[in-house]
């Protein structure tokens, strides 16, 4: 099992003809993801180099392909519109890779998605992952796995191929740090049920708690790796949720203990402001909630292994 995506998931790419969109559509296609088409206004009726049909609108794409998931590479000024278009077309999982979307636009998008989900109760809510994230992957060969985003597929270990017979879910605000965690787990024979990059922006879709809820319910997930960073209070909220609900071990790491306050550390959301969002406060909250917190990014895998009793 896995969460949100698997070998049967049908995926389209919005912005499929842009350079990043085209490159990563091929990457996902080659991995074995059920890519079924793409959207670029004005290019409808043509095909991409993988032979995938391109549509002018999301509604047309969903109608023709039955896709339920989209991967968005649309440039920042138009990305908020693309997210809303996907929701309107009936897409249930929107994975927004785009970096640099304006915060005010994202606040409006979040509001609109809430209204959308209140009005359209059939078939569960429309979820958003990202923006400014690597995406989501359920590792596995064609027909079982599903890679949606920019992560390198080969570092992952499918849950049913794990030498330790254990698999974990990974939730992270950072891209490359996720790869680091995946790699260290794979090297120790720990598989991954699903890995989700929730993104480095201050206003984003699914947060730690949304993902934790699904992982704690998933039979293939034996534990969870949670990778946070400075800024905001999502990790503290996650800690409260873990304390109250987690029956599986959670390993955690928080990046940015050495980051100076008031400076944005690459990610728009990675900033300590007004005394809020420090790494120390997050680490303390997670420790108090019973999480196994790794001191060093080099110990992500070993900390998880220990927590799993390996």
């Amino acid at each position: 099992m896995s969460i949100l995506v698997d070998g049967n998931t049908k995926v389209i790419c919005q912005g499929i003809t842009g350079s990043a969109g085209a490159f990563h559509t091929k990457g996902c296609f080659d991995y074995g993801t059920g890519m079924v088409g793409g959207v670029t206004p004005g290019k409808g009726g043509t095909k991409d180099p993988n032979g995938l049909p391109i549509f002018n609108t999301c509604a047309q794409a969903v109608d023709a392909t039955g896709a339920s998931v989209t991967m968005i590479f649309v440039p920042p000024p138009f990305a908020a519109d693309a997210i809303l278009e996907a929701a309107d077309a009936g897409i249930k999982l929107i994975v927004a890779i785009t970096e640099g979307i304006q915060v005010v636009d994202m606040m409006r998008v979040k509001q609109q998605l809430m209204l959308h989900n209140a009005r359209n109760t059939d078939g569960g809510p429309t979820r958003l992952i990202g923006p400014n994230c690597p995406g989501i992957i359920t590792p596995g060969p064609k027909g079982k796995g599903c890679k949606i985003g920019i992560m390198p597929g080969y570092i992952h270990t499918p849950a049913d191929e794990a030498k330790s017979n254990k698999a974990v879910g990974i939730i992270s605000r950072s891209g490359t740090l996720t790869y680091e965690a995946v790699w260290q787990c794979s090297e120790r024979g720990i598989g991954q049920s699903t890995c989700i990059g929730i993104g480095g922006d201050p206003v984003r879709g699914m947060d730690f708690v949304d993902c934790l809820e699904l992982f704690l319910d998933d039979s293939a997930t034996d534990g969870v790796v949670l990778i946070g960073e400075i800024g905001g209070s999502d990790e503290e909220t996650a800690a409260r949720y873990i304390k109250a609900h987690a029956k599986k071990p959670v390993a955690a790491f928080i990046a940015g203990r050495t980051a100076p306050p008031g400076r944005r550390m690459g990610h728009a959301g990675a900033i300590i402001s007004g005394g809020e969002g420090t790494a120390e406060a997050k680490i303390e909250a997670l420790r108090n909630a019973g999480c196994h917190v790794a001191d060093s990014p080099a110990n992500l895998g070993s900390t998880m292994a220990k927590a799993l009793g390996l």
Binding site: M107, R173, S174, T176, L177, P202, I227, T258
Partner: protein, 396 residues
């Protein structure tokens, strides 16, 4: 992006908020003229730098005559201003604001920010104005009012009224305060601000024209969402390049994200999270990082070479740790950039390279072949090994 106080005041005025008269000057003589022009018995001379805590550093002074305005202005302009936020070397002061003095009956705080937990803008208000809001939040959290705002609707008058009464405004102050709040919220949303603070917002003592006093914005701090600047040409022009680190500006040109820090181990990393984690790793092994540097996912060999140039331009750097987990970024691009940086700039300091991920095999070969020509180059087999090697090299 940050702007100066005088620019923030102009923006407040543009959105209809009441701001006392003020004039921007850049010399003692201009300050003296400004004092005369303001025709006020008292004026405030304020250093225009982005750093906060200006008052504590002697960058804000009351003056009562043209001569005093001139001499105070000359003094502030003559040397770098050191505040709790600038570091010991301080920052040069190029401009001053000379603002008319205002009689104050009471000070308030009014601000707009992004509420990250609620995913919406939030109006923050307090009747404890004039001091740092962080301090108020820490000491007396109950003294702070937070009113979440619908990003599509903006601040509604009923919300502003609720806050105005909570703050204790009376009589004609209420409608003035409501207007100020609604206008500040409009400014925040329409300009894509990330923070807009008025501190203090004051009420003047009652006089014949204003039996309940007058509400005025005395000091303002506004910063903007960098990602939204493309749709605000007017705001983009308010940027002051003097306030930015030249190395950071240079890095931006190459699509690199660089923040200078105080330590002596330079780091070159791909990805913001991994870059922060690498800084933490260095600290964990007993040393201090010299910078944050994220080369991003699609950097070219040229950009990565430039990244080495920027790191090495900091004289404090005594060693470099390269930590790459190739995803979109291919490890061989980094390896080639190391070879090219060695030719163009030269590595006199120890350089430890840890590579993993996409194209790592050809990259390792390039590094292996280059080691004969770059004697300071060594390879870290994993994160801990790399951190140990670079800290040991510096200790040696």
């Amino acid at each position: 992006m940050k702007i100066h106080e005088y620019q923030a005041r102009d923006l407040l005025a543009k959105f209809g908020l009441p701001v006392p008269p003020g004039i921007v000057v850049s010399s003692g003589d201009e300050a003296a003229n400004a004092f005369t022009q303001l025709n006020s018995p008292v004026a405030v001379v304020k250093a225009q730098v982005h750093a906060g805590g200006r008052g504590k550093g002697g960058g804000v002074k009351l003056v009562k005559s043209t001569d005093e305005a001139r001499s105070v202005a000359n003094t502030i302009l003559s040397k770098p201003l050191v505040t709790p936020q600038t570091g010991p070397e301080g920052v040069p002061v190029r401009k001053l604001l000379v603002a008319a003095g205002v009689d104050i009956a009471k000070e308030y705080y009014l601000g707009m920010a992004v509420d990250r937990a609620r995913n919406c803008p939030v109006l923050i208000a307090s009747s404890e104005g004039g001091v740092e809001i962080e301090q108020v939040a820490h000491d007396t959290p109950d003294a702070i009012i937070r009113e979440p705002i619908d990003p599509a609707m903006g601040l509604q008058p009923f919300q502003a009224r609720k806050v105005a009464y909570q703050l204790g405004f009376k009589g004609k102050q209420i409608s003035q305060a409501v207007k100020a709040m609604v206008k500040l919220a409009n400014l925040f949303i329409q300009t894509d601000a990330s923070l807009a603070e008025i501190n203090p917002l004051v009420v003047t003592p009652p006089d014949a024209d204003n039996p309940d006093g007058q509400i005025l914005a005395i000091d303002a701090k506004i910063s903007f969402d960098d990602n939204a600047l493309f749709r605000h040409d007017d705001i983009k022009q308010l940027a002051d390049p003097h306030e930015e680190d030249p190395a950071e500006i240079q890095a931006n040109k190459f699509g690199l994200s660089y923040v200078k820090l105080d330590g002596n181990i330079g780091c070159l990393v791909n990805g913001a999270g991994l870059a922060m984690a690498t800084m933490d790793l260095i600290k964990l092994h007993g040393a201090e990082p010299a910078n944050f540097l994220d080369v991003g996912g699609s950097a070219t060999e040229e950009a990565v070479t430039e990244a080495f140039r920027i790191i090495l331009s900091d004289p404090k750097v005594k060693g470099i740790l390269v930590n790459i987990f190739g995803g979109i970024m291919k490890c061989d691009i980094i390896a080639r950039a190391i070879v090219s940086a060695a030719k163009q700039i030269g590595f006199k300091v120890p350089l430890v390279v840890r590579l993993e991920g996409t194209n790592v095999q050809p990259a390792r070969q390039i590094i292996k072949d280059a080691q004969a020509d770059i004697p300071t180059l060594s390879v870290g087999t994993d994160l801990t090994d790399a951190a140990k090697k670079i800290t040991a090299a510096l200790a040696a």
